[in-house]
Amino acid sequence: MIYFDNAATTGHKPQSVINSVNYALKNLSANPGRSGHTYSQNTAITVYNSRKKVSDFFGSQGPETVVFTNNCTTSINYVLKGVLSPSDHIVVSDLEHNAVMRPLKAMGAEVSVAKVSLVDDKETVSNFEKEVKNNTKMIFCTAASNVLGKILPIEKIGDMCKEKGILFGVDAAQAAGVIPIDMKRMNIDYLCIAAHKGLYCPMGLGILIARGPINRTIIEGGTGTDSIDFVQPKTLPEMLESGTINVPAIASVGAGIDFVNKYKNCLLKYENKLVKRLYNNLQNSNVVFYTNPNISNYAPVISFNVNNIHSEKTVAVLNQKGFALRGGLHCAPTAHKKIGTLNIGTVRFSPSVFNTTREVDLLVKELKNF
């Protein structure tokens, strides 16, 4: 099976990440932050070192700002529900995932949607600015669309948020580890990460980095501290980490970041080369793409359809031929509304550094004969 579904989760993990998970399972299977024995403390120190590594890598102000969650969706829920009040207004983009849109719907939040230009970043920033109102508390947007790969101008949006005194939250599910993100320089208050994607960690690990305040949690429980009090502690990260955390995955974060750091300038360049190879070799064919990766800034994700066939049907056929791609709406109906594919969805091609040009050529051949 040739795996091109890395936007869902990176299908191949570096050996160093696998080794870290193995090490943790063998040597760190004691609950951190709960007991005083050496085994537990060693585990806690490993978790702390992972927090520090994440904080340094993403330009936050310390390990205590790094919260380990179950996934990026949980991180986003913590931000939206932990910061916004009923009277607050929020601006999001028209490329958001349901991880953003559904919590906002459930909260009954006042939401404005800013249009993202696929070619003009200045226009995108201006569109966000136009939606800001007196009661706007936060701008929350994806750093890179999980359907189109479009990278949003988050640094410019962050500048605008700072100027207007608005909190800025970013869904970096497709961007963390893929494009450089420095929270301080980009004025990002909340960064939500899927560690199992661009940081190559196992599934079941999300990260929230909170430089801004979180007023309340959505899950209460044991934190190993202040245990006499039934009121949830207010201190991060423990405030948002009730219950046992995913130590084997957390222990691998350092190895994942080291892997990204080692190849940092090459990963995106190589993966985008694979996307462009697919796109360029399928011009004048029965394949319709919805973006042009040769212009503007894109993460290594591209959507297409073949002969106007429903995308789920296309990926089912490709699966029979040994290719793993995702069809449907990718939990982001707003993006499909934008490109007019709500009825058939799109086939999403998302390579990783572990894919080869030969594998792309095999897919091209298959699609040409579809």
């Binding site: 951190p32 932050g33 007991s35 005083g36 403390q41 806690a44 120190i45 702390y48 927090r51 310390g62 390990p63 205590e64 934190t223 190993g224 501290t225 202040d226 245990s227 006499i228 009090d229 502690p233 201190t235 990260p237 423990e238």
Partner: protein, 73 residues
């Protein structure tokens, strides 16, 4: 040398405080809080040796809030 038992908010702050103090040349380590005072319950403490005020200043400078401090001569 004076020994201080410094109660902090969490294991994260305990490790951060320990590392900061060690960098500044203090002998410091962490322990599970043994004498729970009936007001806060479980938690972690930094055990540090040296000048109390200097230790407190170092911790406060880096945003480590101290719940309680007991010094033993």
């Amino acid at each position: 040398m004076q020994r201080h038992i410094i109660s902090v908010k969490s294991i994260t702050y305990a490790i951060k405080g320990r590392d900061l103090l060690r960098k500044k040349g203090f002998r410091a380590y962490i322990e599970r809080k043994i004498n729970s005072d009936g007001n806060t319950g479980c938690g972690y403490v930094i055990i540090a040796e040296g000048n109390r005020q200097k230790i407190v200043n170092e911790l406060m400078t880096f945003g480590i809030n101290i719940n309680d401090i007991n010094s033993i001569a």
